[in-house]
């Protein structure tokens, strides 16, 4: 039974040429009132879905209005009335911010010198923002970082050009948090490369040392590493040599971060096809030449998003230095809340500190996702 192709085609469309599309065909599907249609499809399409939506809406109705009332409408904003005004009010005591913001942000740094840590923080943030853009990934960026960090240290320390000297014991708040996180990552990075290369090495002794270090450090909590650094570090040095508390914490954070970064670098190294190393060997490059010029540049590009993620973790982990007696942002907040007048309003205080952390971490993680997409663009065919 032969079927003629013509039978299969609707008579109206039998023409060999493409018909001019009518307006009705090019318009999108007939849209009902947009919001209603969308709501019907996404929120209410099946019975379980509808129940979930209703439950979620009920939850929001229970939480959001009281939250808004407490946080916005009934809140006490101006610090003029002091703690008493807050106690009389029923809402949130944002006046706490007005009263204590310097203490929370800068710790016990001398009050009249607060422009110095503020400037230092701005400098670090500017460096970070610049490093975020690919067009600035040039050798001079490394120099800018070096110079910038030296400038930050000089600003904070003082003791020259008319700047009064300020001991590290008085450094605190946001600059300390940022500084520890940034320095931690920057210092840990070279160590992590050595560890990652060591872990992949053919030499058993070196591999054993690298693996031992990485697994040891990754297996213990940061708290115990910080304790070890702050309590045992002075014991490791010859008698009479004292070590700055800040330096001890920095060493602890660096050693800890290096182990985690080493795993990220190792992941990048593993992703480079063996063919690259083989080609370099065939060309006669030495091990270090091969690593420096061929393998590491490619691996590190893959490793940048995990490094950003590690920076986010490091930033949050700096809050632990509270436990060894340093005054980072969290400790400064806690100290500010120790004031018996303002103690009942600890929630507001912690919310403010949380917002600062959240802002940094959230935007950094968004950046990391964007960066991953950007870097993948170069490799997709």
């Amino acid at each position: 039974m032969t079927v003629r192709p013509e039978d299969l085609v609707r008579p109206a469309a039998a023409a060999a040429e493409i018909e001019e599309p009518s307006a009705a065909l090019t318009a999108g599907p007939a849209q009902p009132v947009p919001l209603l249609g969308w709501a019907r499809r996404n929120l209410f399409d099946t019975v379980p879905n509808t129940l979930l939506t209703l439950a979620a809406l009920w939850l929001l109705a229970e939480i959001v209005p009281p939250l808004l009332r407490w946080g916005l409408f009934d809140a006490v904003w101006s610090p003029a009335g002091g703690a008493a005004a807050c106690r009389e009010g029923t809402g949130a005591c944002w006046a706490l911010m007005g009263e204590k913001n310097r203490l929370m942000l800068f710790g016990v740094y001398p009050y009249d010198q607060h422009w110095r840590p503020a400037l230092a923080t701005a400098l670090v943030v500017a460096l970070l923002a610049t490093s975020a853009l690919r067009r600035f990934w040039r050798p001079w960026l490394a120099w800018a970082w070096g110079g910038g960090l030296v400038a930050v240290a000089a600003l904070m320390w003082g003791g020259f050009a008319g700047l009064s000297p300020v001991e590290t014991a008085q450094w605190g708040g946001l600059p300390l948090t940022l500084g520890l996180a940034v320095l931690g990552i920057v210092l840990a990075f070279p160590l992590s490369i050595l560890l990652a290369l060591g872990r992949r090495s053919d030499m058993p002794a070196i591999r054993a040392l690298s693996v031992g270090y990485i697994e040891l450090v990754r297996g213990v909590p940061l708290v115990s590493v910080l304790f070890m650094a702050s309590v045992m570090f002075p014991l490791f040095l010859p008698e009479g040599v004292t070590v700055d508390k800040l330096l001890r914490a920095l060493v602890g954070i660096t050693l800890f971060t290096a182990a985690y970064l080493a795993e990220a670098v190792r992941g990048g190294l593993q992703a480079i096809p063996r063919g690259q190393e083989e080609a370099a060997d065939a060309l006669g490059l030495s091990y270090w030449q091969k690593m420096r010029k061929i393998v590491l540049p490619q691996a590190l590009r893959l490793v940048i998003p995990p490094i950003v993620n590690q920076f986010i973790s490091c930033f949050k982990d700096t809050s632990l230095v509270t436990i060894v007696g340093l005054y980072d942002l969290l400790a400064a907040t806690k100290a500010a809340l120790a004031d018996p007048d303002w103690r009942p309003f600890f929630v507001e205080g912690y919310i403010a500190a949380a917002l600062v952390y959240w802002a940094f971490c959230f935007f950094m993680s968004r950046y990391s996702q964007w960066l991953e997409r950007e870097l993948a663009k170069g490799t997709r065919r």
Partner: protein, 247 residues
């Protein structure tokens, strides 16, 4: 021709957001007919074929499969899927199951067949596609051509009356294309209703009853293979044929 078609698309429209991907697509496939759909990439041919077993939803027009209208009715969709087999470009074998388990999964859970019967049917189809010895292996251990043959056997285990092929050889190395096409030609010879999206014109010439050419979401031309290859009516078709039959 008094038999009603087994697959019928009537004025099918589909949008991805604002992009009109299927425009006024109509097709009618009779029982035992082999239809080969070809066209440039982005022409909507894969989308059309995926609408037939509801992997994609159409927004306008009608699709009728074996007399059942394709709409939101879940029961209808399940009934259609039981009778329509699909072979994908990227095989989509289940990597955590052996070849035999891949083939028996649907008969066990959809048709509720006893395990022995399911395995017997599976081995039967594995022999049909000429790789019975691979039954205990995992998909990751097979070559591309073998995996696609397993995928065809998997679809056949449900004993469908219609088979859809979505560019089945496009992801294969050239030396493995033939083994898959041979299986498909055998299948065609046994009277299976087939709708194939493919670039393999040799296969099309050998097997197709009807060639359908699609471009920019429309069915541009429908013809028998002889007419299609030697005397295409549309300029667009001529252009396309010129590009692909060059090598």
């Amino acid at each position: 021709m008094s038999e009603s078609p087994v697959v019928e698309l009537i004025d099918v429209q589909k949008w991805y957001g604002a992009f009109h991907v299927l425009k006024d697509v109509s097709l009618s496939v009779a029982k035992g007919q082999k239809v080969v759909v070809c066209g440039p990439s982005g022409s909507g041919k894969s989308t059309m074929i995926r609408c037939i077993n509801r992997l994609e939803e159409h927004q306008g027009g009608r699709i009728v499969v074996n007399g059942i209208e394709l709409a939101d009715d879940l029961k209808a969709i399940e009934a259609i899927r039981r009778d329509v087999g699909m072979v994908f470009q990227s095989f989509n074998l289940f990597p955590h199951l052996t070849v035999l388990e891949n083939l028996t999964l649907a008969p066990l859970w959809v048709k509720r067949v006893p395990k022995k019967d399911a395995e017997a049917t599976a081995m039967q189809y594995l022999e049909r596609v000429r790789i019975p010895e691979q039954a205990g292996k995992y998909p990751g251990q097979l070559s591309g051509g073998q995996q696609q043959r397993v995928a065809i056997a998997r679809a056949l285990c449900l004993k469908p009356s219609i088979m859809l092929f979505d560019e089945p050889t496009s992801a294969l190395d050239p030396e493995m294309v033939k083994e898959v096409l041979d299986v498909m030609i055998e299948l065609a010879g046994e009277g299976m209703t087939m709708i194939c999206v493919t670039h393999e014109m040799g296969f099309a010439r050998a097997v197709a009853d009807t060639m359908v050419f699609m471009a920019e979401g429309r069915v541009v031309e429908t013809a028998s293979p002889q007419d299609f290859f030697t005397n295409p009516r549309s300029e667009r078709t001529r252009q396309f044929l010129g590009q692909i039959i060059g090598h």
